[in-house]
């Protein structure tokens, strides 16, 4: 391997990492110290593409984290780049330095590989930076019953299953919508019409149908003031995209587009859930 930047004492570490990725992840083609983007002032020591259309970037370093990687992490998050960034370091870092750097790497979603002759140990896995850049919500803003699900949803999203992460939030919004329609039905908070109260099954009808009935037939004067029609239209809009999240991307550009959309959807779903929970709080449903 022909390194131009990497100090010679770290060449064996880099070579061991390549062996590890070949044996453990089936990655055989590595590019060495090449540019990844004209806009980014960084070249990873090693980089490789995966069949799932994300990239491994591996920084080989004497220490488990370098400050200069902050900008790289931020760039990937901002531009929604599907990259798993690892730092590979030779074993034997001093304990204080190691702990500080390892904590920093973990917080930023950067994976850590400790390398000794013939052995590469994954200290922790890297997160996809396109996904880990998702906004972290202050969960105390939500009632206690929602916090655990939100925590799981965010972790699921960040650790590589964004569709499932979104689905967990959608499930909570849907359940709340169904409890709302039952409350409206029980109290007969419908608008007066020639056809009378709408006929529907609150548990079995599709979420979209339920939302349609709420939006078109509810007497909004009976609902709390914050439960406006516009808010419920925002909820109804989620029903369109709900099942549109699990398709596998066909190339890297599609992956970036999908991850970016999922990030936006996840964040907006959380916003909708928070607003809906706040608006319906007086109904105790």
């Amino acid at each position: 391997m022909n390194f131009r930047v990497l100090p010679s004492q770290l060449h064996p570490t880099a070579e061991e990492v390549v062996r590890f990725f070949q044996n453990d992840r089936g990655i055989s083609k590595f590019r060495i110290e090449e540019s990844v983007s004209n806009d980014l002032d960084y070249r990873p020591t090693l980089q490789a593409a995966t069949p799932e259309y994300y990239d491994f970037w591996i920084e080989v370093s004497e220490t488990p984290y370098l400050r200069s990687l902050d900008g790289v992490v931020l760039y990937c998050m901002t531009n929604c780049l599907p990259v798993k960034l690892y730092v590979a370091f030779p074993s034997g870092s001093s304990s204080t330095e190691y702990k500080k750097c390892a904590d920093e790497a973990r917080t930023k979603g950067v994976g850590l590989l400790e390398v000794s002759p013939g052995k590469c140990t994954v200290i922790h896995e890297a997160l996809l930076l396109s996904l880990s850049g998702v906004r972290s919500e202050e969960r105390t803003q939500f009632p206690a019953r929602y916090r655990s699900v939100l925590s799981t949803a965010e972790a699921t999203f960040r650790t590589g299953d964004p569709a499932k992460g979104c689905a967990l939030v959608y499930d909570d919004i849907e359940a709340l919508s169904r409890r709302l329609v039952k409350k409206i039905q029980k109290n007969n908070w419908w608008t007066h019409s020639a056809t009378g109260a709408p006929a529907f099954n609150a548990d079995k009808d599709s979420w979209a149908s339920v939302m349609d009935i709420i939006i078109n037939r509810t007497n909004f004067n009976s609902l709390p003031k914050a439960a406006k029609k516009s808010l419920l239209i925002r909820v109804a809009a989620l029903t369109d995209v709900r099942n549109d999240t699990g398709h596998k991307p066909k190339n890297r550009a599609a992956r970036i587009k999908r991850d970016r959309e999922l990030r936006t959807r996840f964040e907006s779903a959380i916003d909708v859930l928070r607003d809906l929970v706040d608006a319906l709080r007086p109904l105790r449903i």
Partner: protein, 318 residues
């Protein structure tokens, strides 16, 4: 012949990708922490000082600025400011490396030691004689002390140079063996070899044992290695040479016997005596040179009191 002082050079921005490192650059180690500092500076302020290169086969070869070039590559810079100079000959190229880098960046001594034989060989071709330490110092710009210290490392067997190299590749905080350690060790063993050869059965074995004792803290610091040449030069202080041989032989065995213990059990008293006598001689000579009449009364009183105490002490000798 000194390095030509007049250099034809054009300042221009050249493509980072068209630059190659200079194969004659003796620098082996580029420590990541140092590169990281420079990297951050270049990211923030750019390359402020141009690198120096010469042109060869449509590409450029570095003369000065390898770290700046490496950082620019890492930072994905497209170009770097450079002074493009005429291509130097082999000796001139190598001497440039020494003059530019060794003085400014404080190379590791091993780096210098590994490249000095080539400098000496090229200089020998040019001077038609073995270059002296002074010749080498003038040409390379290195202090003579650095050349002398490098020679200790040059003269070490390859096996030990490799050991040192392995340790130097580690981050500084994890290095157990240093160049200074090996220099002190070689200096000590060389003195034993010359002054008391009968104490040294095998230099390599003694070296191995002393390295192990240093690693296991039986020798707690580098300075303690300096006890060894003192023991070996027992004759200088008229100490018992047989005793010196005996403690050195014990020291060169795998045990917990340290150079300090060896020193204290052999020649320590002799050195103390020599030290005391030497100081006394100096003191007496200075007193003999004094004009007592010109001394002020306070000083005379103090001096008298000290001499009285000395007389009391010397009375115990009889």
């Amino acid at each position: 012949m000194p390095i030509p002082t007049k250099v034809n050079a054009d300042l221009t921005d050249i493509a980072v990708n068209k630059i190659d490192r200079n194969p004659e650059n003796p620098r082996i180690f580029f420590r990541a922490a140092e590169l990281e500092t420079l990297l951050n500076s270049i990211r923030r302020h750019g390359v402020q000082v141009p690198i120096s290169v010469y042109k060869e086969h449509g590409r450029y070869v570095l003369i000065d600025g390898e770290r700046r070039w490496r950082c620019s590559l890492k930072l994905n810079k497209k170009t770097i400011p450079a002074l493009v100079q005429d291509k130097p000959d082999a000796l001139h190229n190598l001497l440039l490396m020494f003059n530019i880098h060794a003085l400014r960046e404080q190379w590791d001594l091993l780096t210098i030691a590994l490249k000095l034989p080539r400098v000496i060989s090229l200089l020998q071709d040019r001077l038609k004689k073995e270059p002296t330490e002074k010749d080498i110092a003038e040409e390379t710009g290195l202090p003579r002390a650095a050349i002398r210290r490098s020679r200790f490392l040059m003269d070490m067997p390859q096996e030990y140079r490799d050991q040192l190299l392995t340790d130097l590749q580690k981050p500084k905080s994890q290095q157990q063996l240093s160049e200074d350690f090996f220099i002190e060790l070689e200096r000590a063993l060389k003195t034993v070899e010359r002054a008391l050869p009968q104490a040294l059965d095998s230099k390599d074995r003694a070296r191995d044992i002393l390295i192990e004792k240093y690693k296991t803290k039986v020798i707690p610091n580098l300075v303690d290695l300096r006890f060894i040449p003192k023991i070996a030069r027992a004759f200088k202080v008229s100490a018992d040479e047989q005793r010196a041989v005996s403690v050195l032989r014990k020291l060169f065995q795998p045990n917990n016997y340290s150079p300090k213990e060896a020193f204290e059990q052999s020649v320590s008293d002799a050195y103390t005596e020599r030290d005391l006598i030497g100081r006394m001689v100096t003191l007496v000579e200075r007193l003999e040179g004094l004009d007592f009449n010109s001394l002020d009364s306070e000083f005379r009183t103090s001096l008298r009191e000290l001499l009285r105490r000395l007389t009391d002490l010397t009375a115990k000798l009889s």
